[in-house]
Symmetry: C3
Subunit: 178 residues, 3 copies
């Protein structure tokens, strides 16, 4: 394992991928990672449309070829016809982690009752953890900060890179060995 971790950020949006919208969600993720993570990491980045095949191909590439220990996606998690990110995530994962979706919805429910419409999930592919985030920057922060305390330990368990955070910005948890 190299000393520098790789983290993937994929903005899934028909309009951002066509250049109609500025790619604000992807940039919001990178800003949060820079704010929280102390250890050296590089970012792999993509903006792609809400097409299941293209999302699956990007996730596989980021996990298998670019060795991302963590891949976060933004967008495509709602109930609308074109929202297909959770299905693409499940299609490429070895195992799913239902607790991420539960906790992110619980975090969002403090702000909006429509949080129950989010189908966000998370899962493991090989040595990579994939986490779906919403598309709105404010919601991205609320969601990612609700689950991030468990992410570095999860990556330890699946054999990914060791991540340390700045505890004054983001306190993560690793159980003591027993």
């Amino acid at each position: 394992m190299s000393a520098t971790a790789t983290i993937g950020v994929i903005n899934i949006s028909d309009r951002a991928s066509q250049g109609v919208y500025e790619d604000i969600p992807g940039k919001a993720c990178v800003d949060l990672l820079n704010e929280w993570i102390l250890t050296s990491f590089q970012v792999e980045y993509a903006v792609i449309p809400d097409e299941k095949d293209q999302i699956e191909a990007a996730l596989i590439d980021f996990c298998d070829n670019r060795n991302c220990s963590l891949v976060v996606t933004t967008g495509g998690t709602g109930p609308a016809l074109r929202d297909i990110t959770p299905e693409a995530t499940e299609a490429v994962c070895d195992k799913m982690l239902a607790g991420f979706g539960e906790e992110m919805r619980r975090a969002s429910l403090q702000f909006v009752p429509t949080a129950i419409l989010s189908r966000q999930t998370a899962g493991i592919r090989g040595h990579s953890l994939i986490v779906n985030l919403p598309g709105k920057p404010k919601a991205i922060r609320e969601n990612l900060e609700s689950v991030f305390p468990a992410i570095p330990y999860c990556i330890d368990l699946i054999g990914g890179s060791y991540l340390e955070t700045n505890p004054s910005e983001m306190k993560v948890f690793r159980p003591k060995k027993t």
Copy 2:
């Protein structure tokens, strides 16, 4: 889209479908809808036994032929052998909304620890939202009022009819466009 919305109510119960029990759960749903919804709507109604094929056929008919923007089912969501409503719902839906089941169980847990035995879920078929409710009238109100604030916006997102409620009875939420 016609100005008048259509909402389906399906009571799933072996005994109610045989006339052994009075159909109280279905009527309780209609009463709640009348109490909360201001915009014009008509109700499609059925009482059917706990048979997977018949539940699927009724759901498909209500969604595809009768153009229901919302279909609520009552009953058949427990752990017993004949409880098959969630499986029938999943079989006809394009996508599932796990947050509905989570929130309804959380609402019921305030009253009874056996709320975790409920397998209620929700999902989208075309332009229709299907929501499973329990069979007991008191629990129907607790459950439906816990998720209803998100239902009109969900129906907007899937291209169904626009529903407005009486905010003094049921306050719903639609995010501001960004």
Copy 3:
């Protein structure tokens, strides 16, 4: 149904099955059952490795041949490569009870943010309820006591043995017939 209930305890652990670790989790489960349950019951017991085929075979044997009304497993529910207990559970169950996993993760989240990494679930096979528990004894208690109030009634609903508890140690809930 015999007057004496049968409860299965399966410790799923590569190292415990090889004798590298002492089987503490399985014993912790038996201690809790003895502490809480008043009615007569006998325990079926096994320690097996994290192999999907072997877990499935043990679950089927405990449910179908040994007539366990309840089977609790310990271990194998995390995100690591060898953690396969939830998949084996789902493979042998007729129906899944998502509320158990939600409630156990919620209980553990009061103590550790990494609770969202647990993939614990529960399901029904015939007249048996199967519940996945974590591998650490402290977490076993926290998790099992969060869902146990619903377990005897669940077993009633699926035609298993009638369990009564000592209410000063574990208060269970059965709804009044309506």
